[in-house]
Symmetry: C2
Subunit: 313 residues, 2 copies
């Protein structure tokens, strides 16, 4: 289908609008240039529609090494021409994030925590907008602490919840706190669960994901530099989380869900659990086992993408 310009009329226009990425900022169109500073890209220095116009899937995760590995993995899975070893970091002008493109799949790192992924998402959403991308699905592939699950289980997030188990994200705008919904796309979530059932060695569940702003006190760990609570109080908090449907804990899902929702992007959070927090705090699993666990979200999402693209799985 040929691209339809934003200013055309009729029902095609409505359909176009429905499937594009919505930036919600009237000022953007008035800017002569938009510098995506933390990507080291810009609308004047780079031809964003040419570079990114065909992107249909964006996969993001905390670690640079892991997102490079994912780009190489999906390159092989999609039988793309050329060597996956030749994939180049599109953001090589900065060390804030890395970005790789394999066919219609973009793989980007986002660092750790809500503020870090939030900067990346602002610039990614603007990038997709400038590039006139359509029908994009966005995945966060991550690691997490499990709540009552065997380590290695993949959690596909139903609702991203805050420290009080509420499905909301609090955003400060000019000194005032506003609240945004963190609902994710139900269709993509169910499709991912179906994919997991088609794969061997990929235990997966749908559950709520709690997003915290720190790894130690906020998640009830007893092994940080600071700890003012008891083992019993920790277990009580985790039990309350479990009863609220929380199956894993990580540090980015609420803002990811909230921003994708506001901007009309279908999105899913797919995190593997590295340990069961009811049983401990430290990650003592051997390195090679952790590596295999960390590949599971990648294998699951690669399967989803291949099915969507009609590539034999």
């Amino acid at each position: 289908m040929a691209p339809i310009l934003l200013n055309c009329m009729g029902s095609d226009h409505k359909e176009y609008i429905e499937h594009t990425v919505h930036v919600k900022n009237p000022y953007l169109e008035t800017m002569e240039e938009d510098i995506l500073y933390h990507f080291s890209l810009g609308t004047k220095t780079h031809n964003l529609p040419e570079m990114f116009g065909d992107v249909k899937f964006v996969c993001v995760g905390g670690s640079t090494n892991r997102m490079k590995a994912f780009a190489q993995f999906i390159h092989g899975e999609m039988n793309l021409p050329g060597s996956s070893e030749d994939l180049r970091d599109i953001c090589e002008g900065t060390d804030r994030y890395c970005m790789y493109k394999a066919g219609t799949v973009l793989s980007i790192s986002h660092g750790m925590g809500v503020p870090s992924i939030s900067i990346m998402l602002h610039e990614l959403i603007k990038l997709l907008h400038h590039a006139k991308c359509r029908d994009v699905v966005l995945f966060r592939l991550g690691t997490s602490g499990g709540v009552g699950l065997a380590p290695g289980t993949v959690v596909v997030t139903e609702k991203a919840v805050d420290y009080s188990f509420r499905p909301q994200f609090e955003q400060v705008v000019l000194g005032k706190v506003i609240t945004r919904s963190t609902e994710l796309d139900e269709g993509v979530c169910q499709e991912l669960l179906q994919c997991s059932s088609e794969l061997r060695n990929l235990p997966a569940v749908i559950g709520n994901t709690m997003c915290t702003h720190d790894f130690y006190e906020g998640q009830g760990r007893l092994d940080g530099a600071l700890c003012t609570f008891s083992h019993e109080e920790k277990l009580e908090y985790l039990q309350k989380a479990y009863e609220a449907g929380v199956r894993n804990i990580e540090m980015e899902s609420t803002v990811f869900a909230a921003m994708c929702r506001v901007c009309g992007i279908k999105a899913a959070v797919v995190c593997v659990t590295l340990l069961d927090r009811f049983k401990g705090d430290q990650i003592t699993t051997p390195h090679d086992v952790l590596l295999e666990y960390q590949q599971r979200p990648q294998v699951l999402v690669a399967h989803f993408i291949k099915k969507r693209l009609g590539i034999p799985v």
Copy 2:
């Protein structure tokens, strides 16, 4: 002075305690092993006192490249033996953070935002504790948006404040919000200002630093993917910040100040401003000028360290 054991008695003991890094966690001493997961270091796998026992200055900053460059720079400034090119990333087993040691100076990256630096600080404070370090001074060397200052000005933080200009940090512990003070060490702050006056091309001021949890809406930028306020409302917010003594805006200072204070570590925040937020949002300064700006906090802190160590400046 020979190391004094923690269980010794008398006034020496009191003095020792006063100068050590205080972890505030009774569980730590009961752990057989402490894995500093995001550093890829541990008490069983690494001899932390031997590796880090002599550390007196820790410099942290967001970017991995910049903190590697700082380690190489301070290596040269301190006339240390060997080539600065040979400095090795101590955290090479992970890509979460990087860490370099040059003499008694440790240089570590912390990524962007409060959650990211908070994980690093928990593990750094435990590392300094396990290594039995004494009299450590901790610096955050960063970049920031200026509020009513010429770009390139270095701000030495008096108080780290939140989005409402309050000198406090809100920490969630097991689902409850607690508040911690964000006061920084006044002596180190004044000493840094004195150092700046001894250097050419190093404009510096003491001021409050506002710490936000995002780069766009929270800082009143008009160029994010989302923007619901007007240019006038933005300026009004920045004006209020200015009147509250805020001279720059970044994303890590409150938790940095709060954790250092609780753990008895003298700390300072030294950030250069890349633009004046009254005049714009985008960072359009040429790359080479930005690089020179980014070196200013490094030059200032290196001068401080050399003076403290009695190295001719």
